[in-house]
Symmetry: C2
Amino acid sequence: MAPQYKLTYFDVGGTAEVSRYLFSYGGIEFEDVRIKRENWAQLKDKTPFGALPTLEHNGKVVGQSVAIARYLAKKVKLVGDDDWENLEIDAIVDTINDIRLKVFPIFMEKDEAKKKALIETLKNDTFGFYLPRLEAEVQKNKGYLVLGRLTWADFYFTTLSPMFDLITGEDVLASYPNLKGVKEKVNALPVIKKWIEIRPKSHA
Amino acid sequence: MAPQYKLTYFDVGGTAEVSRYLFSYGGIEFEDVRIKRENWAQLKDKTPFGALPTLEHNGKVVGQSVAIARYLAKKVKLVGDDDWENLEIDAIVDTINDIRLKVFPIFMEKDEAKKKALIETLKNDTFGFYLPRLEAEVQKNKGYLVLGRLTWADFYFTTLSPMFDLITGEDVLASYPNLKGVKEKVNALPVIKKWIEIRPKSHA
């Protein structure tokens, strides 16, 4: 039987990788469609709001990476036990997303001097503000970002944090052992280890 | 008995208004704390990640406006009937949020010439791209943004769209009768009409 889910994105990790991790975690087969940048212009208008990733299931297509991840997290039971717990997860996820929103535009900056200045601000104002606070959360949550146990917030952080290193050229989590621990724990899960082995090598 | 929820924000609508609407819709009492801008610096460090709104309940405090709204939407039953329906709502909410993220920074721009240019780009590239697509969604969803019925996505759009007019000085939805209809329908709900009447007049 063909997979019931089709995830479409570019041939990188980015904002789709959290969903690929979630599929892998739950042992849910999915079609991992990776489109080439040069084909994006012609596909763009066929997506719900001109953006990837999209998830297709039962003939329906939706966009928005975090919304898709939340849906999959429910399927694979990496969510909270009640509404308040899910609020706590969502709040951490949106905080990680706030960091992402500061990182991603810098990749687009063509002017090298401006880019360098933006990276400095990112390191001081964004990482310098958020990472110590997230580190403290992990410290009081038994090695996880929230709820004292593994949730999709840990998956979201793990799959986005490579961007922090990529943009700065540094090991950004080096001074945050607890956050580094989250990443190591998630990536050491046998199903995730397996996924990292088999995923396309083009992967950032 | 004191209200079980305390919502803290500035003395404007902004990203907290969707939650105030949701409380009102469900007839849930809440403490509507509105702090003055001049007191923000000293409060900032006491919030989870230096941002408002926050929601306090049972001695716990969380941030992130959209996460809070999703939680309240569950309480007042303005959510989907299953996980996929909630994904569809979340995807629309995050799309509206993508628009918001383009609007809000412009309010901060001090240079008048730059601000004017940013507003032009906002009108052409952001509103010009998203609003016709959202308009089409409402057209095929029986006058609502998603699922063919009232959900918290309609509340989110209704409470954020005043920002579109505020930043441009125009009636942005004038050419989008379906989107305008969403807003009118939500604001005409008796409980919401009542809230609009009783809320502080400082309201943008």
